[in-house]
Each structure stands twice: as C-alpha cells, then as structure tokens.
Symmetry: C2
Subunit: 220 residues, 2 copies
C-alpha cells in the first residue's frame, strides 16, 4: 500500500481550490482546444524563394492550414545534410516570412546528420545551424535557420484570459491514453488572429500516440 497522499487526491484538491479562486467569471474558450502535429517544413523569405524557384516566383496554395492565413504551399525543397544525406519533398509553408527557417523533428535532424540543433520558438533562429537547400531552379546555402520547434499553443487574448496566462508563459499539456505524456513546457503565443491550437512536432505526436489520443488537458 502507498503510505503517501496519492497524486489523484492532490490534483482533486488543487483543482477545487483553483476553480474556487478563479470564480464564476471564467468563460470557455471561443473554440475547443485543437492539438495538431506539424510535420517538418520550411518557411521562405522572398529572396530565397526566388533563388530556389526562379525570379518572380510566387507561392501557390496547396491547402489552407488550421490557422487563418497560413497554408501548405505546392512548393517543395530538398535538404542536403553535412554527409550528403537528404530529406526530399520538404513542404514549404506560406505566407512568406522575413527570414527563411527550417523546422525539423529530432528524428529528421538525426537522419540528416545536422549537429547542435536547438529547441526554439519559430522566428528565434539567431546562432542556429544552417543547411543546404535545393529547389528546382537553384540552391540556397542557409547560414542559419534550422530548429526543432518548441511545442507551443496559439491563443487569442480571450483564451489567454480564460487560462490566466500571457504571451510567452509556459503551460502544461497532458495527453491521456496508453502512452500518456505531459508536455511540461508548452509556450504560449497570444495573437488576436489565431484559433486555440497546440502545435507539436511529429516526434512529440508519435511519442504520445496523438493519432490515438482522445484526452487533452491544458493547464498552467
């Protein structure tokens, strides 16, 4: 027999106290929490787009993504690792950005053989490793921009109020099921244009069996 207080007992007490303190003013989020896996992908700046796909080329929408304004483009590139190992058919996501960036899972990073890739938020790429990128019309020697994206949750200011968090806070996401996992460092990204949505990478999705999971709990 366990002589100590069980985790369930503690959690029940904490939940009760939290709900009492938060009071009846709390409303539900505008949309239900969506938890999605982001497969490896690349964002391009205009200069790199034109080097890879030709002068004047513009991205073409393949399919819209869950977040308004974002889309998977028809354009794809090939990454060449330091020992000539390849990742082909890497999807470009639109719209264009100020700086090119490659988001890979550690599984991809290990298979490509790039070293010292950090876990970073999108856009925070100073000092990260680069990569050789091949397109149908040319090659870009990216000096930096390869990251393993940190798990994050997009939310509106109203959602942030609901959860009692602010931009850049960390939250926890518990995913239930046979491979139950709690992601302890889910970065909060507050923006008025977004839908409530956790983005994890394919390693994280496969670790928690996201394709089988039905139970999600996002907490401070």
């Amino acid at each position: 027999m366990n002589p100590a207080i069980s985790r369930e007992e503690v959690e029940k007490i904490v939940r009760k106290v939290v709900l009492e303190r938060l009071g009846p003013s709390v409303k539900a989020p505008a949309v239900p929490l969506a938890v999605h896996a982001s497969a490896r992908h690349m964002h391009l700046c205009k200069a790199d787009l034109e080097k890879l796909f030709g002068p004047g080329h513009e991205l073409t929408v393949d399919r819209p993504l869950y977040q308004p304004g974002n889309y998977a483009a028809k354009e794809m590139v090939t990454l060449v690792g330091p020992r000539s190992r390849l990742i082909s058919n890497l999807r470009v996501l639109g719209p264009l950005r100020d700086r090119s960036q490659i988001e890979l899972a550690f599984t991809d990073i290990i298979s490509l053989g790039i070293e010292n890739v950090p876990v970073r938020l999108s856009g925070d790429i100073d000092g990260t490793p680069g990569c050789l990128v091949m397109g149908p019309k040319g090659v870009v020697e990216l000096k930096e921009g390869v990251i393993r994206a940190a798990i994050h949750v997009h939310m509106s200011p109203a959602d942030a109020e609901f959860y009692g968090v602010k931009h850049k806070d960390l939250m926890k996401l518990r995913v239930g099921g046979a491979a139950g996992i709690t992601f302890d460092r889910v970065h909060v990204r507050v923006d008025p244009t977004v839908l409530l949505n956790v983005h994890m990478d394919t390693d994280e999705a496969n670790a928690c069996g996201l394709h089988l999971a039905k139970e999600f709990e996002l907490t401070k």
Copy 2:
C-alpha cells in the same frame, strides 16, 4: 498574477509529507537511474531464427546491452509492410524468447504502414498485428507480435521498496530541459536480476530530447 496555488508549492508540500511518512529507513537505489532509448528491434524464437538464418543457426553477440544477459546480436532482418514498404537492417536482440516479437516506434510503424499497432509491454502480444520478416535464408510470416513498446522501468525488489512501488505499478518520469516532458505511464517491471533502468523508444527519446537531457525524476 496566478491566483491559485502553484504546482511547485503543491509538489513541495507533497514531497515533504511523503518523505515524513516514508521515514528514515529509505536508502538510495543500488545504482543510479539510467534512462535509455531502445531503437526498433526484434526478438526471435528458436523456430523463427532457424527459418530466417538456417537450421541450427545460433545468435552471435554483437555487443552486450546494459541489462545483464541481454545483447544486440549481429543478426539483422528486413521487415516488409503491407504496401511493400521496407525497414532494413532491423537488429535482433538476444537471448532467444518463447515467441518472436517486433518492437517499433510509431514513426517506424507509420513508415511501414502497419495499422492498429497497440502500445504494449514486451511479451504481451496476443491479438497484435503481424508482419512479413525476411532473413538471409528464409522468410517468416509473423501472425502477430508487432508492438509499440510501452515505456517501462526495470528495477530490483530493493529499488521497488525504495520507490514504494510493486511490479506492474505505473510511475512518472519527468525529463527536464528545453523539451521537458513527463511520461505519465511508466510501467514498473520488478526483477532481481536487473539494473535500475528506464527504457523508452526513439519517438519518446526524440520528443524529450533525451540526447540533451540531464535531469530525470522518477516518482510515483
């Protein structure tokens, strides 16, 4: 400001109560906790070994594993998925078992295209999908045995006493770092011959950045 009790406060209180109740008789585990990633692999029964590698064939040790008596064999096989997709050079682990079994990460399972693979403990393979296995001397049509291994911790009875758990209990493993994750369902396997050792698969290892992680906490 967070109006509720912080998680850290709660954990501090719980830890204090637990330590008080467990009292001063608790000793440290015999060996420090080792956390290892198990890459995809196969266990073979004698009949399947002989079908794949020829009559009378015996496994040869390539390198010993951390757990006494276990080893990576020199022998490797190829898996053929339902749409003829392959995983080559799948390592066989020794010693032989009563039943053949294939342990894959979900990343491998998705790439092979096998459906309905459950998260199971090693040995618990009734009703799991099968797979076509090719060796240098023959082929085995495995009727069942493909699993995604559940994360588990091997420990001695003394370690189990230290942690206050028993065989088949579930524990939590918190892995710190930029991709901090808590594995909420770590299965306890008590055996007098083993060293204290968590086994996770490569998806789980890559999700938590195990190759970068320095902080591990195993708790009930």
